[in-house]
C-alpha cells in the first residue's frame, strides 16, 4: 500500500497552522496505511498525539532543518468509538480493585472513585461478589464503557470499566 503523503511546509512557511490538515489526513488513512509527513521542524507535540492514536513514528532530518516523519499504525486508537465499543481492543487494565469483601454499596463507591481518577481510554478491572446492577446506570451516565461476566464457579463477577471522555 502506498503511503499517504502530506507536505505542510508551504502552509508553515506562510504562518499557517497545519494541525487540522494533518488530522484530516489521518482520518482519511486506509487501515494499515502509513502517513508520510513533511514539516519545517521536528513536530514534537504531534508525535505524542499520534502515539495516543496508536501510531509509531520514524523521524528523519532533511536538508535545511526540515523533517520527514513516517507514521505507521501499530495498535488501535484508544480514543476511537470503534475501540470504546469493542472490549477486545481495550488496553490492559491499569488498575485492579478487589471488591469481594465489601458489602454493598461500597464496591460501587470504589469503582466510581477509580473511574473519576482515570484518563480517557484507561481501563480498570474489578472483582465483585455479585453483578453490580446499580453501578451500570451510573457508568452509562458518566460515559464509561464496561464489560463483565461471572467466572466459571459463578461466585465472582469480573468487571472491566473503561473511562470515557470527561464532560
Amino acid at each position: 500500500m502506498t503511503d499517504l503523503e502530506l507536505d505542510v511546509r508551504p502552509l508553515l512557511r506562510n504562518g499557517g497552522e497545519p494541525f487540522g490538515a494533518i488530522m484530516a489526513a489521518v482520518g482519511s488513512l486506509a487501515p494499515g496505511q502509513r502517513l508520510k509527513l513533511f514539516a519545517t521542524f521536528r513536530p514534537e507535540p504531534l508525535l505524542a498525539v499520534m502515539a495516543s492514536k496508536g501510531f509509531s513514528h520514524e523521524a528523519t532530518p532533511l536538508d535545511g532543518g526540515e523533517w520527514q516523519v513516517i507514521f505507521t499504525p501499530e495498535g488501535e486508537d484508544i480514543t476511537s468509538p470503534a475501540v470504546a465499543s469493542d472490549p477486545e481492543k481495550w488496553p490492559d487494565p491499569s488498575y485492579y480493585i478487589d471488591c469481594t469483601e465489601m458489602d454493598p454499596p461500597e464496591p460501587m463507591v470504589r469503582i466510581l472513585a477509580q473511574l473519576e481518577a482515570m484518563a480517557e481510554g484507561e481501563v480498570a478491572f474489578a472483582l465483585l461478589g455479585r453483578e453490580p446492577v446499580f453501578l451500570f446506570p451510573e457508568l452509562q451516565a458518566r460515559g464509561a464503557g464496561w464489560v463483565g461476566d461471572f467466572d466459571a464457579t459463578g461466585e465472582n463477577y469480573r468487571l472491566m470499566v473503561r473511562a470515557g471522555r470527561k464532560p
Binding site: P105, A113, Q114, P137, A141
Partner: protein, 451 residues
C-alpha cells in the same frame, strides 16, 4: 447488560403499606375484630385483609419492583404501569373492606361490593405480576431466589382468584353446593396460597440473596436450597389438588392438607438451616440493625408453622390456628418486612442522593443516613408486642392482646418516623445535610439524563 435503576414507585407502595399496617394494628388495639369478635366476623376480615393485602402484599410488590431485576440480572419492563397497579389495588382493597362492612350493613354499605373489590384486586395483582414476570421470562436458567419468586407470583394469582370466588360466595352469587364447599375449605386454602405460597415463598427467595449480600456470606448452593423450593412446590401442588377437589365435588381433603403441611414443614426446616448457615458463615463480624432485627422474624417462622401444623393434626384449630397465623403474618412476614425496610429506605435514599456524586466528592455511607441506636428500641418493642399479642390470643386474654397490638402500633409509628428522617437526610452528619432532599415518597420529577 442488565441495569437496575431506582424503581420510581416503590416508596409509594411502601407508604401505603405502612399506613395499612398502622391502621390494622390501631384497629386491633381498639378491640376491632378477633378475638373480641368471631374469626370470620366482618371486623376480623377487614383487619386480616388490611394486613395481608394492604401491608404485606404491597410491601412485597414494592420491594420486588425494585429488587427483582437485581435477583435476575434482567430488566423489568413496563415499570411505568406500577402506579396503575397500585391504584387498582388500593381501590380494590377499599371496595373489599367496604363490602365486608356491608355484610353487617354498616354505614349503609352493601356486600355486593365484595366481588367488585375482588375483581379490582385481581386486576391490580395481575398487572403487577405481568410487570414482574418480564425479568423472569427468557432463555437463561433463573437463579434460585428468582425461582422462588416465580412460584410465589403464581400463588399470588391463585390466592387472588380464589379470593374473587370467596367474595362471590359472601355476596350470595354462587350456587349452594359450591358456596358450602368454599365456606368449609376455601378460606384455609385462600390463606395457604396467600400467606404461604405468595408471601412466604417470595420472602424466602429474596432473603437467600439479601442475607448473603448484607452478611457477606457465600451464597447457599447445592441440594438444600433446591429442596426447600421443591418442598414448597410440592406443598402447593397438594393445596392445588385439594382446591380442585373442593371446587369439583365439595369433598374435604384432609390427606392433601396434611401432605401440604408436611411439605411446608420440611421446606421451613431446611430453610431455617440455610439461614442459620448464612449467619454463621458471614464475614461481617458486627450485625447491622436490619440483620439483627430479622432474627426474631426468622425465629417466628418455624414457631408459627409448628403451631399451625400442631393445630391441624391435633384438631385444636379454633384456639391455636389464630395464634399461628398472627405469629406468621406479623412476626415472620411483618417483622422481616420492617427490618428490611429499615435498610431499603436508607439504601434507596442514598442511591438517589449520592450516586451522581460518587467519586467526585466524599459521600456518606448508607449507615450514616440512619441512627441504629435509636431504631433498635423500636424493633425490640415491635417483637415484644408480637410475643405479648400472640401469647394473649392463646391465653384468651383480649385486653392483653389489645395492649400487645398497641405496643406494635407505637413501634411501627416510631419506625415510620425513622424512615421519614432517613428520607429527609435528617440524621446525616452536618457536612452533607445541605444537599437537596429527595421527595418523600413520590418519584423524582425528572429522571437523570443518561448520555
Amino acid at each position: 447488560m442488565p441495569m437496575a435503576s431506582i424503581s420510581r414507585w416503590t416508596l409509594a407502595y411502601f407508604l401505603v403499606a405502612l399506613s395499612c399496617l398502622t391502621l390494622a394494628l390501631g384497629s386491633m388495639a381498639m378491640g376491632f375484630g378477633f378475638p373480641g369478635e368471631g374469626l370470620l366476623a366482618s371486623s376480623t376480615l377487614i383487619v386480616v385483609h388490611l394486613v395481608a393485602i394492604g401491608w404485606l402484599s404491597l410491601l412485597m410488590l414494592g420491594a420486588l419492583l425494585q429488587f427483582l431485576p437485581v435477583l435476575t440480572g434482567r430488566a423489568l419492563r413496563g415499570a411505568s404501569l406500577a402506579p396503575v397497579a397500585l391504584g387498582l389495588l388500593v381501590c380494590g382493597l377499599c371496595m373489599l373492606l367496604a363490602g365486608f362492612a356491608g355484610i353487617e350493613g354498616w354505614w349503609g354499605l352493601s356486600a355486593a361490593l365484595l366481588p367488585w373489590g375482588g375483581a379490582l384486586l385481581l386486576a391490580g395483582f395481575g398487572l403487577a405480576v405481568a410487570m414482574l414476570a418480564t425479568p423472569l421470562i427468557g432463555g437463561k436458567a433463573l437463579p434460585l431466589p428468582a425461582r422462588f419468586v416465580a412460584l410465589a407470583l403464581f400463588c399470588l394469582l391463585g390466592a387472588a382468584s380464589l379470593g374473587v370466588l370467596l367474595a362471590g360466595m359472601l355476596a350470595g352469587l354462587l350456587g349452594d353446593d359450591l358456596a358450602a364447599a368454599l365456606a368449609e375449605r376455601g378460606v384455609a386454602l385462600h390463606a395457604g396460597f396467600g400467606l404461604g405460597g405468595w408471601l412466604s415463598l417470595a420472602a424466602m427467595g429474596v432473603s437467600y440473596r439479601l442475607l448473603s449480600m448484607f452478611l457477606l456470606a457465600p451464597e447457599r448452593r447445592g441440594w438444600r436450597p433446591q429442596l426447600v423450593l421443591w418442598s414448597g412446590a410440592a406443598g402447593l401442588t397438594a393445596l392445588l389438588a385439594a382446591l380442585g377437589l373442593v371446587l369439583a365435588g365439595g369433598e374435604a381433603a384432609p390427606a392433601m392438607l396434611a401432605a401440604a403441611g408436611l411439605a411446608a414443614g420440611l421446606a421451613v426446616a431446611l430453610y431455617i438451616g440455610d439461614v442459620a448457615g448464612l449467619y454463621r458463615s458471614r464475614k461481617r463480624a458486627v450485625l447491622e440493625l436490619h440483620m439483627g432485627a430479622a432474627l426474631p422474624a426468622f425465629a417466628a417462622l418455624p414457631l408459627g408453622l409448628g403451631l399451625l401444623l400442631w393445630a391441624g393434626f391435633s384438631g385444636e384449630t379454633e384456639l391455636v390456628a389464630p395464634v399461628a397465623v398472627y405469629i406468621l403474618a406479623l412476626g415472620w412476614l411483618g417483622g422481616l418486612g420492617l427490618a428490611m425496610l429499615y435498610k431499603i429506605v436508607a439504601f434507596l435514599t442514598w442511591l438517589e442522593c449520592f450516586a451522581p456524586l460518587m467519586g467526585r466528592r466524599p459521600t456518606p455511607r448508607v449507615q450514616d443516613l440512619v441512627r441504629e441506636d435509636h431504631a433498635m428500641v423500636w424493633f425490640w418493642l415491635y417483637f415484644a408486642g408480637v410475643a405479648v399479642a400472640g401469647a394473649a390470643l392463646w391465653a384468651q386474654m383480649p385486653l392483653v392482646f389489645r395492649s400487645g397490638a398497641g405496643l406494635q402500633m407505637l413501634a411501627v409509628l416510631a419506625l415510620i418516623q425513622q424512615f421519614y428522617r432517613a428520607r429527609r437526610l435528617a440524621d446525616l452528619p452536618a457536612e452533607w445535610r445541605d444537599l437537596p432532599r429527595p421527595r418523600l415518597f413520590l418519584p423524582a420529577p425528572i429522571e437523570r439524563k443518561m448520555t
